[in-house]
């Protein structure tokens, strides 16, 4: 194992199109640690991952992020990768006509590593998490299922061997077997290679496989609480009600409208009436 690493986030603030999303994040992840960042929708979880990796479209309005003392926010995304940061994306991008191996070889070459090691490393890592060999030849993420995309992200993570990995909703779209395979691979990297993990997730599902050392609750752009694994269990029981201004009623309502028979107007009243008053609750 190489010397321990540290991702130190201090007072990080960021805005999108003038709207402040991150209101000052403080967080430190060290080699071998797994930190979970949990939070309700719209709390700024994905923004945090994007800002750390340098996705265009975000304005840093304060604070800093250091990886082993290197100011990440001053670097281009590929330089952040070279500095040892990796982001497993929530929605991995399809890149038509570009093979996984070509990308990783280009990355190795840019880092001054021996690119000829890439194909065998990719094959070994794919086998390790049950990612079908046949899929390796496909263009990046093109015609892959949600679960296959996440396995693909995990293969890349394992081949690139970063110091710190951010997992943005790694569990979304993953079936139980894939989740276990990916989580175990990452867990083993924390132990064998001292990988530090910042796992961003809405549900505690991931954390039954990838055991967190620290759990943070992110809401309204701030870390509201930090605790041990028991905090995730508590959230499982109570939900995020304590961390949002009000129950997010909009979502269940949308789901009910999808079933036309549940709509009161469906029982006989003309649909036109339901929309006569734009402020009337159609479900009342």
């Amino acid at each position: 194992m190489s010397a321990p690493s540290e991702l130190r986030i201090e007072g990080l603030r960021a805005a999108v199109k003038g709207r402040q999303i991150l209101q000052g994040i403080d967080l430190t992840v060290r080699s071998g640690e797994v930190h979970a960042v949990m939070g309700p929708n719209g709390s700024g979880k994905s923004t945090l991952s994007h800002v750390l990796m340098g996705k265009p479209g975000y304005e840093i309005t304060g604070g800093r992020a250091l990886l082993d003392g290197v100011d990440l926010l001053a670097l281009a995304p590929w330089e952040r990768s070279r500095a040892g940061l990796f982001l497993a994306m929530q929605y991995p991008i399809e890149v038509p006509g570009v093979a996984l191996v070509d990308v990783l070889e280009a990355s190795f070459a840019a880092m001054g590593h021996d690119a000829s090691l890439v194909p065998s490393s990719v094959r070994a890592e794919a086998e390790r998490i049950g990612f079908d060999d046949k899929l390796l030849g496909r263009a990046l993420n093109v015609d892959l299922s949600g679960g296959e995309k996440k396995r693909n992200e995990t293969v890349q993570l394992a081949v690139l061997r970063p110091r710190i990995a951010i997992l943005d909703e790694l569990d979304s779209g993953l079936d139980v077997d894939a989740l276990r395979a990916c989580a175990r691979r990452i867990e083993s990297m924390t132990q064998a290679d001292g990988l530090g993990v910042l796992a961003i997730t809405h549900y505690s599902r991931l954390l039954t496989e990838l055991k967190p050392d620290v759990v943070h609750i992110l809401a309204k752009g701030r870390i509201q609480r930090t605790g041990g694994p028991e905090l995730a269990e508590e959230l499982e029981r109570t939900g995020y009600a304590d961390y949002v201004d009000e129950e997010p009623a909009a979502e269940p309502a949308k789901a009910r409208v999808l079933d036309p028979s549940a709509h009161p107007a469906a029982s006989g009243a003309a649909f036109g009436d339901a929309f006569a008053d734009p402020f009337a609750d159609p479900l009342a």
């Binding site: 281009a76 991008i93 890149v95 006509g97 570009v98 990308v103 840019a110």
Partner: protein, 436 residues
């Protein structure tokens, strides 16, 4: 009347060949006097650089054609093009409009396959112009009048030619007009693959090539053209095809060269169940303009056409794509698709894309799509987040964009060459950006 060019009936009479060919040229030259230069007011010339053309700057190549076999040393570029496809079935090299080299195996000859000079072939008179018919524009008419030494590939019914037939057209002379003509006839249920490589030295020439592709019932023709003219060349090309009952034409163009280089492709599906698959890749750099006009004409019922043109423009280069799917009244059961995608790699570059439909039958499935835009930011970020520097990420994405067509090349061994050519252009671009 102001003469359009030096291609007069008197000059046409001096061009070599049998009397039927000479008379045909003279008649075509006489008809030229009644034609005017097109203008950008016509839809099919809109956006083009036709107004910049000075026909009188170029003199048609004249003089006798060499006797064959000729031991003449081929221009280095033409030799390299031949060498790119070592396992070829046959080959013809045309230099400045004259056939100078023919390779034609005994086995093919015994099978009745013609590859070589059209003028001396028994079927020559019947084949020349059979597909083009009335010239579509002034430049096809020019070719009729000035074609010096047309080439014929004639595959008799039921014959499958193994390996590609390679035609290399090379230009070495300055200030000339070159009217290359290639006629490919594929008999019933016959099969052949043709590679048409168009190049030149760094000369200022006007190239007006015409290609006729005649695909008889149940036949298969796979045609690949590689346009790699020098940076000063003006090219106005025409490709006309006729596809018969249950026959298939696959036509792929790769266009990189020229100052202004245009190709008009007319694909006529005249037999029931005919299929025409047309695709192209193009990459413009510096101030060149690459200009494509396509016509998918569904004449017979149950015909299918698929078109996929993908291009990129860098520096201050420009590209034009305009395409028409035309479905005749009789062409029920037509499937016609047309897709044109363009990557704009520099602020100063410009791409025009105008797809069109003209449908006279209700029982059809048609779609068209066109896009012009820069390299996708999300794709670039994804690759960069894996540690790939931006200029390398862009190269990978652009090469990936072209791969869809490169993977369909009828002569697969040419695909890596074109990929390398494009990669070299991307590399030059990246270096320039670093320096500036």
């Amino acid at each position: 009347m102001v003469p359009l060019s030096t291609l007069t009936p008197e000059l046409a009479r001096t061009l070599p060949g049998p009397s039927w060919l000479v008379e045909r040229r003279v008649a075509a030259a006489a008809a030229l006097e009644r034609r005017a230069l097109p203008s950008t007011d016509e839809e099919v010339w809109r956006y083009s650089r036709i107004a910049d053309l000075e026909l009188d700057d170029f003199a048609p190549v004249t003089g006798p054609v060499p006797s064959l076999p000729d031991a003449a040393v081929l221009p280095a570029g033409a030799r390299a093009a031949l060498d790119a496809v070592p396992e070829r079935a046959a080959a013809v090299v045309v230099v400045d409009g004259a056939v100078v080299h023919v390779e034609h195996g005994d086995e093919l000859r015994a099978g009745g396959v013609t590859v070589g000079r059209l003028a001396g072939a028994g079927a020559g008179a019947e084949a020349l112009g059979a597909v083009t018919g009335e010239p579509a524009d002034l430049f096809v008419a020019h070719n009729d009048a000035g074609t010096r030494d047309p080439v014929l590939i004639d595959v008799p019914a039921g014959t499958a030619v193994a390996g590609p037939v390679v035609v290399v057209s090379w230009v070495t002379a300055d200030a000339v007009e070159v009217n290359d003509r290639l006629v490919v006839r594929v008999g019933e249920a016959a099969e052949v693959t043709v590679l048409d490589w168009q190049g030149s030295d760094d000369v200022s020439a006007l190239c007006l090539p015409v290609v006729e592709l005649d695909v008889a019932a149940a036949a298969h023709l796979r045609y690949l053209s590689v346009q790699e003219r020098g940076p000063q060349v003006w090219q106005i090309a025409s490709q006309v095809s006729r596809v018969g009952r249950d026959a298939t034409l696959v036509s792929v163009q790769a266009a990189l060269g020229g100052s202004y280089a245009r190709c008009r492709a007319d694909c006529r599906l005249v037999g029931r169940g005919a299929t025409g698959n047309l695709s192209a890749i193009y990459f413009g750099e510096r101030d060149q303009m690459l200009d494509f006009r396509t016509f998918q004409e569904h004449v017979a019922p149950d015909t299918t056409s698929n078109l996929l043109f993908k291009g990129a423009v860098s520096d201050t280069s420009q590209s034009v794509y305009t395409g028409l799917i035309k479905v005749d009244k009789a062409a029920r059961g037509t499937n016609a698709f047309q897709t044109n995608r363009n990557l704009k790699l520099s602020d100063g570059a410009w791409a025009e894309s105008v797809p069109n439909l003209e449908i006279e039958n209700n029982d059809v499935r048609c779609s068209h799509a066109s896009t012009v835009g820069p390299v996708d930011d999300d794709q670039r970020f994804y690759l960069e987040s894996r540690g790939v520097p931006p200029e390398v990420a862009e190269r990978l994405i652009v090469l990936g964009f072209f791969r869809e067509v490169l993977d369909q090349f009828p002569v697969p061994q040419v695909a890596p060459l074109l990929r390398d050519r494009i990669d070299a252009r991307l590399g030059r671009r990246a270096r320039q950006e670093q320096e500036s």
